[in-house]
């Protein structure tokens, strides 16, 4: 069986970068991902745009909207990922999406399209109670179903959730939606420690990480193995009033900064 890059993540300071596919247009999206890939991050998360991204904040919502404006199809997103996989090297590819996208595309067809290309998948609105058949099919094809743990997940539930977990654990740092504010390092540390007692796969902290300082603080003040940055990467596009060339440059600078 083909190797899964997620099985050989580094031990510490893992960097995962999230970006919505097809944002702001399909063509420019390619350029963004190529830029991201050139920095050799440990993980790239490909967001599949959805009309009703219930668990995402305003920035990723806007990115979804822009991507869908040009009627981007699921197939086009998957083709983009396939195209980018040529220069994948050691970077892990992870898809982040909502269940309706996979369901409507067809699970088997979806897996066929991403097999040997994508290492993991996060289905935001698929709780472990409902994952049965999907997890089985994914695991047969060596694609890890990544688990999310929130501060609301109690110990008993975490134990069930984390059983046989693979790839990494996505710890939702704030009880919030992607791109929200405050980070409570004490709470993060407490919860990450407790997760690490139950599982041996790396724990990454996501939601609300905006700057180099945040990345360093997570690394210094908590036991987490790495971070996920999403909204902050997209936010830059709106900050510079959607001038794409300037955006690429600021993206480059930002990624260099957060690679600690």
């Amino acid at each position: 069986m083909q190797m899964n890059n997620l099985d050989s993540l580094p031990k510490k300071k893992i960097l995962s970068l999230f970006m919505t596919c097809g944002f702001p247009t399909l063509n420019n999206s390619k350029k963004i991902f190529n830029e991201m890939l050139s920095h050799k991050p440990d993980i790239i998360e490909f967001g599949l745009p959805f009309s009703d991204p219930m668990a995402d904040g305003p920035i990723i919502q806007e990115a979804n909207k822009l991507a869908l404006r040009s009627k981007l199809s699921t197939q086009q997103s998957l083709d983009l990922i396939k195209y980018l996989s040529k220069s994948k090297n050691n970077t892990s590819f992870v898809i982040m999406c909502y269940l309706n996208t996979v369901r409507k595309f067809g699970l088997n067809k979806f897996i066929k399209n991403i097999k040997s290309i994508v290492d993991g998948i996060i289905i935001v609105d698929l709780p472990f109670e409902e994952e049965g058949a999907i997890k089985k099919s994914l695991s047969k094809n060596n694609i890890h179903l990544i688990k999310l743990i929130s501060p609301m997940t109690d110990k008993k539930r975490s134990q069930k959730l984390l059983k046989n977990s693979k790839g990494f654990i996505y710890y939702i740092s704030a009880t919030g939606i992607t791109g929200s504010n405050k980070l409570d390092y004490k709470e993060i540390n407490k919860n990450v420690k407790s997760i690490k007692k139950m599982s041996s796969v790396p724990v990454l902290v996501g939601f609300g990480i905006k700057s180099k300082k945040d990345v360093i603080d997570i690394s210094k003040k908590t036991n987490a193995d790495g971070v996920i940055i999403g909204s902050a990467l997209i936010q830059k596009y709106f900050d510079i009033k959607m001038d794409f060339n300037k955006y690429l440059k600021s993206l480059k600078k930002f990624i260099q900064e957060v690679k600690i």
Binding site: D52, N100, T101, V124, M152, G176
Partner: protein, 401 residues
């Protein structure tokens, strides 16, 4: 037919329903489910709710024999279940009282809700005023524009209205935003969902609280007609008033049940809200049910003249009842609903909301000169005050001061 027993313990109506939410919400929903199960057995809770139903809402709502309308249709004997006479002018208050009592029991201190037509928003704002809890209502900016009287009502009742600018700026987007608020404020907030939609346990809980409508109607019709009705008719957006009326009759095989959806400019056009006529199964707002979606599963925007039916999804229980063919669903256009709105006003002296006007339109169309000697109960789930401006505009009457 076996005794109807839905949903399953994990919130499945057949294959529909379920809990499709992020891990931030899962523990909350499971906790809500547990608390709801507990209060169902709590006699004090039931007593408190019954008392509020009677003395605050004015229940039971009457069952009115619509003689003139029956004569006009020249078909069955039509009864209106008059939930539009409830305090706040619609059936929505039934559910809000149930949920706020539950919120209190769970120690929640902040209430959020979504609203389309504003009826659920008004009902939520009302119960929040009664119980002294801060209230935040998410409402699409398009709906704020077309339901101004209700916006003012909510403000008078002390609620904060949060306009939603995303997507189609109506009910669907208001629900997205309310869910996001909930994810952000999980610890202290209770989300009062107004329809039989959303993740488990909401579809079940809302149905149960609304089923007071059907329970009363059943008793009332047995008293006056000495038999069960031949037909039940109700409009369906998310489906709470309809489930409320239908549920206590589901085991009565002989009672035929009809749900009427908003077809907007036509069920076959892109401007429709007839989810079960034009939609396919998919996942929206945490539940698997019929939705209006494209080939990639992107949810389409709905259209209806009635803000309360302007929703691209429908409750999972309705999806199930459609598939097992226990309930039949039909679409009625904006135009047909608007005509029925006027006909009912003139004939019965009752100005219905645009939502039940869809049910009325179906009745007038499909039962005309037919089904004589039959008995129909139609759920008149809301009054038309809130729609006066929308209707005046559509009819071409200048209602401005």
């Amino acid at each position: 037919m076996k005794t109807y027993k839905q949903p399953s313990t994990v919130g499945r109506f057949g294959e529909f329903g379920g809990m499709y939410v992020s891990e931030t919400l899962m523990p909350l929903l499971l906790n809500l489910d547990k608390s709801y199960k507990k209060i169902q057995k709590d006699k004090k809770f039931k007593k408190e709710l019954d008392d509020l139903f009677k003395n605050y809402v004015g229940r039971p709502s009457s069952l009115h024999y619509a003689k003139n309308l029956s004569k006009y249709i020249n078909g069955p004997k039509v009864y209106f279940k008059r939930d539009e006479l409830n305090h706040t002018g619609a059936h929505k208050i039934n559910n809000c009282l149930g949920q706020i009592l539950l919120a209190k029991k769970m120690g929640k201190t902040r209430i959020i809700a979504e609203t389309g037509a504003g009826q659920h928003g008004v009902a939520t704002a009302t119960v929040c005023a009664l119980f002294g809890l801060p209230c935040y209502i998410y409402m699409g900016s398009k709906d704020i524009e077309r339901q101004k009287p209700n916006v003012f009502r909510m403000k008078l009742l002390g609620a904060t209205i949060i306009p939603v600018e995303s997507g189609s700026k109506s009910l669907k987007d208001a629900m997205n935003e309310a869910l996001r608020d909930w994810i952000k404020n999980v610890r202290d907030t209770f989300y009062i969902i107004g329809s039989t939609a959303g993740p488990h346990p909401y579809p079940k809980m809302v149905r149960d609280f609304q089923s007071v409508i059907g329970k009363e109607a059943r008793e009332q019709i047995l008293k006056v007609e000495k038999k069960l009705p031949d037909y039940l008719i109700a409009c369906v957006g998310g489906g709470s008033n309809a489930m409320g009326l239908f549920y206590p009759f589901l085991n009565d095989k002989k009672v035929k049940i009809i749900g009427v959806e908003a077809a907007g400019r036509g069920a076959k056009t892109e401007e429709t809200a007839a989810t079960m006529t034009s939609g396919t199964p998919g996942i929206l707002h945490g539940s698997y049910s019929y939705v209006l979606q494209d080939n990639d599963g992107q949810i389409k925007e709905a259209h209806s003249i009635s803000a309360g039916l302007d929703y691209p999804g429908v409750g999972p229980e309705h999806s199930y009842l459609k598939d097992i063919k226990r309930v039949k669903y039909f679409g009625i256009t904006d135009k047909e609903a608007l005509e029925a709105f006027q006909t009912c006003s003139k004939l019965e002296g009752i100005i219905p909301a645009l939502e039940p006007s869809h049910a009325l339109a179906y009745l007038m169309k499909a039962f005309k000169n037919k089904h004589k000697n039959k008995v129909v109960i139609l759920n008149l789930c809301g009054r038309g005050d809130k729609d006066l401006f929308t209707a005046a505009k559509a009819i071409g009457f200048d209602a401005d001061e």
